[in-house]
């Protein structure tokens, strides 16, 4: 509701990649989602000042850019951790005990879904039905599937990621 201006940490690839993306879509309001997707991919989050530049360059109202960025859950308006931990919350995985996996990750990392820890090690997210239901429940870390998971195995998996 209230907007606090967060100073942008422009992130991993620095300004160059983002500038390039903005220039590619300058003057094309229909390309808003493409532009934001590419920046999210390059930078792993969307700082507010970058959002402002995108809105100006693509000639869309800033409020529309904010609506899109907050609506779609692949966009992150806050910085992400080094490793993304997804627990699949699809229906099959749920039936097979995904909720207990979620509790275990919460217990071990102190993070609730959507949160990143203070050392930026992990971001914990839900993923709904990633298509490998037959090996559920699953934990997916940095895109790697860990199928047929049980709460007992979670600690070992997380240990491998610094």
């Amino acid at each position: 509701m209230s907007e606090q201006i967060i100073e942008g940490n422009v992130g991993i690839e620095g300004n160059g990649a983002i500038d390039g993306i903005i220039e590619k879509y300058r003057g094309k309001p229909g390309a808003l989602i493409h532009a934001l997707t590419e920046i999210q991919h390059a930078n792993r989050w969307l700082p507010r000042d970058v959002m402002q530049r995108v809105a100006d360059a693509l000639e869309v109202p800033f409020s529309q850019a904010m609506q899109i960025a907050s609506f779609y859950k692949t966009f992150s308006l806050t910085p992400k951790g080094r490793h993304e931990v997804h627990v699949c919350t699809g229906m099959t995985c749920h039936l097979r005990g995904a909720a207990k996996l979620q509790e275990k990750v919460e217990e071990l990392t102190g993070l609730k879904l959507g949160e990143t820890d203070a050392e930026s090690r992990f971001t914990f997210e839900a993923g709904s039905c990633l298509g490998s239901c037959s090996i559920g429940p699953e934990l997916i870390v940095d895109g790697k599937h860990h199928g047929r998971m049980t709460p007992e195995k979670v600690a070992d998996v997380l240990k491998r990621y610094e």
Binding site: M91, C129, C133
Partner: protein
């Protein structure tokens, strides 16, 4: 590769491809589908490459990495030809032995299917119970195709339907064949595709679009991804034929952002089809121009709804539009747009090649053809299957699925994810079809079939599904946004022992108003799972409320 300029040129080229291949030559196909990939099939494939090199076998057998073979929980899957010998749960260490035995024509007994109860073994696909009862018209070719090689698709007859349509049929004749076949939408709507095509074709605007809805947001449905990853050309061929019939010049494939392998395969298919003159200007010398763009979703379920998806392609937030404006008349940028599901498009080439009469000979009276089903949950054999419409659910769950493991009894079957419904196991003899299942309150949706065992908490299932939908609601209209939210609160209370006597009455009002008042299908069908629970499992809900009150929960 110079572009193929006519149907005859395509057939000449196909003959060349086939003459360079020996059907008697041994082959090894490693499945790299979603589940097998999750079980590290990449390591298995790498082990095969090494073994083949070490045994100097590259010239003596064909090796390929393919899309989904279907028997997902028994992966990593390997199929050896000729004869479709199926090896299951293959490890990297097994690769060398498999290569050696394949060259000698020998079978490795310990890797073939063995029935968990009878111990009976099955070597060939046609003998394995999981595969035996299927009719694999759409997915049968997947183990034969490396999705990065268009020539593999040509070798199994690919694009012959397109050539036939462009050179021997008029657009209206193609349209009529699809109408005659009564191909109904496979994404969940079950609406006759031919009629939708016709509306789009007849719309006054000259610019028209066709769209593949590859979003597959339905929870526990994974067959569209298997189809697009394993044989993208079949879907593309159907799309081009449809565009020809409708008079569209531009197509869109809309799919998920979170499957890089699928994206890679679709991109390769589009590029290779264009190289061969099967996409782009003057396709096969017919004068028909058509191009396709690939778009990704950005991670929200509602963007699978057709009008929302079109807004997303335009670059807006995926807010659905009311259906008073049909998208086949006014869709993307207000132009007539025909959207169909992946599986619907994939059916088109066979209908053109083998004819509507062939298609209508399969299935039941009003549901023709086959259906892809994602079979999962508390079931022994799970994966992607293809069966004729009209097959009794009993056959799917017990003969193909192998029943519930661990000696437990099945309790219910759920179809359609968050927008479907559950039926009790007493109704297991119902046939798989659109209308009958819808009447029972469990519309088949996209085809995700979930088996639930005796320990399943039916209050929790409804609560979970509403929780999922609440997070996915766009939030525009009151009945969906507020109605679902209040339903979720009530169900959470019931589950946690705080249910009250008037809860069922409030739930009844909420389900009615949300169904009637919501703007789009998400809101309208959001209460369907709960409705099916109240229809078949009401006593479980009442008992929960009573138990909560008895234990000192809130009184009425």
């Amino acid at each position: 590769m110079p572009k193929l300029q006519s149907a005859a040129a395509l057939e000449d080229y196909r003959a060349q491809v086939l003459s360079a291949r020996d059907p008697a030559r041994p082959s090894i196909a490693v499945c790299a589908g979603a589940a097998c990939g999750g079980l590290d099939s990449a390591a298995v494939a790498a082990a095969f490459s090494t073994a083949i090199e070490k045994q100097a076998a590259a010239a003596k057998l064909d090796f390929r990495v393919t899309g989904c073979h279907g028997f997902c929980n028994k992966g990593p899957n390997v199929i050896v030809g000729p004869g479709d010998i199926c090896y299951f749960e293959v490890k990297p260490e097994d690769a060398a032995e498999i290569v050696a035995c394949t060259l000698k024509g020998e079978v490795i007994e310990r890797l073939v299917y063995q029935h968990p109860v009878t111990g009976e073994k099955a070597v060939h696909m046609s003998e394995v119970p999981f595969y035996k009862h299927q009719m694999r018209i759409l997915i049968g070719d997947i183990p034969k195709i490396d999705p990065m090689r268009i020539t593999d698709y040509l070798a199994v007859g690919g694009y012959s339907a397109l050539a036939k349509a462009l050179s021997k049929m008029t657009p209206v004749e193609v349209l009529d064949e699809v109408k005659k076949a009564n191909l109904r939408g496979r994404g969940g709507g079950g609406f006759p595709a031919g009629l939708k095509w016709e509306t789009t074709r007849n719309a006054p605007e000259k610019t028209k679009y066709v769209i593949v809805n590859g979003h597959e947001g339905e929870s526990a449905a994974f067959m569209d991804r298997a189809m697009l990853t394993g044989n993208p050309h079949k879907v593309l061929e159907g799309l081009i034929i449809g565009a020809y019939a409708i008079g569209a010049q531009q197509g869109y494939i809309y799919t998920r952002h979170d499957s890089p392998q699928m994206a890679l395969h679709i991109q390769a298919a589009l590029a290779q089809a264009a190289d061969y003159g099967l996409l782009g200007k003057n396709i096969l010398g017919s004068g028909f121009d058509f191009t396709v763009e690939l778009h990704y979703d950005v991670g929200i379920f509602v963007s699978g709804e057709s009008s929302a998806l079109m807004r997303s392609i335009e670059g807006h937030a995926p807010e659905p539009r009311p259906k008073y404006i049909r998208t086949s008349v006014s869709g993307i940028w207000d132009k007539p747009s025909n959207l169909n599901n992946v599986e619907t498009w994939a059916n088109v080439p066979e209908i053109i090649n083998r004819g509507a009469d062939w298609f209508t000979s399969i299935g039941s009276e009003k549901s023709k053809g086959t259906k892809l089903v994602s079979l999962s949950g508390h079931v022994a054999n799970s994966g992607v299957i293809e069966v004729p419409m009209g097959m009794p659910l009993r056959t799917i769950v017990f003969d193909i699925g192998g029943g519930v493991p661990g000696g437990k009894a099945p309790k219910a079957i759920h179809f359609g994810g968050a927008m479907g419904g559950s039926i009790p196991i007493s109704l297991i003899d119902a046939p798989l079809d659109f209308d009958g299942m819808a009447k029972l309150g469990a519309p088949i949706g996209a085809g995700g079939l979930l088996v639930m065992d005796e320990d399943t908490d039916m209050v929790e299932v409804a609560r979970y599904l509403l929780d999922f939908l609440v997070k996915e609601s766009c939030g525009k209209c009151v009945p969906c946004r507020e109605g679902m939210y209040q339903m979720l609160k009530i169900l959470t209370n019931i589950k946690e022992g705080r249910g009250r006597k008037f809860d069922l009455e409030r739930l009844a009002d909420l389900t009615e108003v949300t169904s009637l008042g919501s703007l789009c299908a998400l809101g309208k069908t959001s209460s369907d799972p709960l409705k099916s629970m109240l229809r078949y499992f009401k006593d479980e809900y009442e008992a929960r409320i009573a138990a909560g009150a008895a234990a000192g929960g809130l009184a009425t």
